[in-house]
Symmetry: C2
Subunit: 356 residues, 2 copies
């Protein structure tokens, strides 16, 4: 209801609510309903246009370019992924480049959309610059997530969803709030020197690419983040690297614009465009079993199958509810009040959420 009051159509509002709740369900609370307030403030600042309808501006049998027209990120992204799936039905694969979008929540939401269609799903996005390339003092890339969903037969799907930076913004902010030192190799100060201070990001510091410094392969992490940036922006005409706008209204827009909004890139790959579906799914099962039963290091949980932990969290939260911090509830109710919606009844011990 909150998003309808902000100006979204009913379908769009329902998509945004779905995506944010999925973030909380999977334990990615930084991409959950905590974003309602951010989205609201971006709407108020006229950086988001809730009533906008994304439009296909270019296409081929297996591709399309979608202009998001500054609609809410989840609305644009859901449309983009659906388009990729539709293209794949006839062409075998579908690939959609998106511009003019915004923060889209958990990438796994979109890659997973392909599963029901017997497809492998791919979703990626660029983001507000926080990561410095190796040997650079400036923040040039976002933490640029990639998600890949792979359908299995008897097992749950493989669900990869990872940022291409050495540490995510939310983990960094958490460490800064708790005043704990980081291990070396995750961040640098404004001069590009190694530091363990998580608050360095507030004083011109930067996150290192996955790998860390040059000797630990940070240049490879930079490559991966750069490929996500390029796929998300240059095919579609979105802003790239340092020009990607922030996901919150209290940060200023970059001084220069080189494209439209944030960019995403989606892919859907029909499994039976390569081999019979059953054969593929059996092979995925076998892959999962071989990796799950690999010998673990003593005193550790052993090999973690991508997506398994998040699925467990989701199962628990679907049963027991989602724990929300008092601050998130206050923020949600603040937005609800301004928009004339009912507040969430908040009981600190059994915290449940309903919104939409």
């Amino acid at each position: 209801m909150l998003f309808v009051r902000m100006g979204c159509g009913y379908d769009a509002a329902s998509t945004v609510a779905d995506v944010l709740v999925e973030g909380d369900l999977r334990g990615a609370s930084s991409h959950g309903v905590t974003r309602v307030k951010d989205y609201y403030q971006l709407v108020e600042a006229k950086r988001l246009c809730p009533s906008a309808v994304p439009e296909v501006v270019y296409q081929s049998p297996s591709t399309a370019t979608l202009s998001g027209a500054s609609a809410l990120g989840p609305v644009v992204a859901q449309r983009g992924m659906q388009l990729a799936i539709d293209k794949a039905r006839t062409a075998g694969t579908g690939w959609v480049a998106v511009r003019g979008s915004h923060h889209f929540g958990v990438a796994a939401y979109y890659s997973s959309m392909a599963l029901e269609a017997n497809m492998v799903g791919v979703a990626m996005s660029n983001g507000y610059p926080l990561v410095a390339p190796v040997f650079c003092t400036s923040r040039m890339l976002g933490t640029n997530p990639i998600s890949v969903a792979v359908p299995a037969l008897r097992h749950s799907p493989l669900l990869f969803d990872f940022s291409t930076a050495s540490i995510t913004r939310s983990r960094l902010l958490g460490a800064a709030a708790d005043r704990v030192e980081l291990p070396r190799g995750l961040v640098q100060d404004a001069l590009g020197c190694p530091t363990t201070d998580p608050s360095t990001i507030q004083r011109g510091g930067a996150i290192l690419p996955l790998g860390g410094d040059r000797v630990h392969g940070g240049h490879k992490g930079f490559c991966i983040g750069a490929v996500v940036d390029i796929f998300s922006s240059l095919f579609s005409g979105a802003n790239f690297g340092p020009f990607v706008p922030p996901p919150v209204s209290y940060l200023p827009l970059p001084s220069e614009r080189v494209g439209e909004g944030i960019g995403h890139f989606f892919g859907a790959i029909r499994v039976d465009a390569f081999r019979p579906e059953q054969e593929f799914r059996q092979a995925v099962d076998q892959w999962i079993e071989v990796f799950r039963t690999a010998k673990g290091v003593e005193g550790t949980p052993g090999v973690m199958i991508p997506g398994e932990q998040e699925q467990l969290t989701k199962d628990t939260r679907l049963k027991d509810g989602i724990p929300l911090s008092p601050q998130v509830v206050r923020d949600l109710n603040g937005v609800a009040k301004v928009l004339g919606c009912e507040p969430i009844p908040y009981t600190p011990d059994s915290e449940r959420k309903n919104e939409g």
Copy 2:
């Protein structure tokens, strides 16, 4: 000529020579002509079949599955990438999964093939297991390279080519030969404990994924390596993870086979399937300029544009020749002698190479 004598057709022999020389030209000597001896020994061991002709076994408008039939890796891979390019001409994108292949040399060779067709090229391969997932003592993944080639307008193309492990096998062997300690965070011993000893790999140790341990994001590096493994093997029916056969004949074949040979995955993306070609190329130029001029850390070379260093090396080597170690020349001439070919005239100071 060496490869013709091994049993390749003329075209196939020329492709293999081209690919290996490209490795040396780009400075990736571990994927250069040093492999001639390895390939020869694999042929002798009947693990490679030089006269085999790869065959398309499955397809859709934008995809195909290629069975390599144990032909030499570069022959299979070149055919796979060409097929992807051909598919992209009509479908907008082309994606080819390959099984029954072998070591394919430098991945950048294949991704670059797309450039002339005004396409972005993607090439990846799984490989012999050397990398342990986080919390695991076993070697489950190869160093699984990814290469992406992106055409620019006035600038040289962007050419990404990186392994998804924290350190490559060749750098590791180099450090072991030189008896130098590695920095922490690159390898582990047979029990999964951190070590700085590069020879640990010979005693059951393993390379860490890009990122290193859990706290430095090694689980993300594992995800990337796993995605390359899955794309390279499960779409095509190649061996995956721990079952990938070794690239040399002196290592035994894995005790179990779950597919055919090594797997690759190739992609070709027509730039004008997303936006007008000129616009895209201009945006790539702009991307390169923005990253090249980003502020460097004092005392460092600053941001390195992917592919630039390798292009400089290639330009120099095309002019001055390729330096080959005496051992590589001895190996080449050893193979030449057995096959009844002329040896390379070797003068230690001005080392040049000709073979094929």
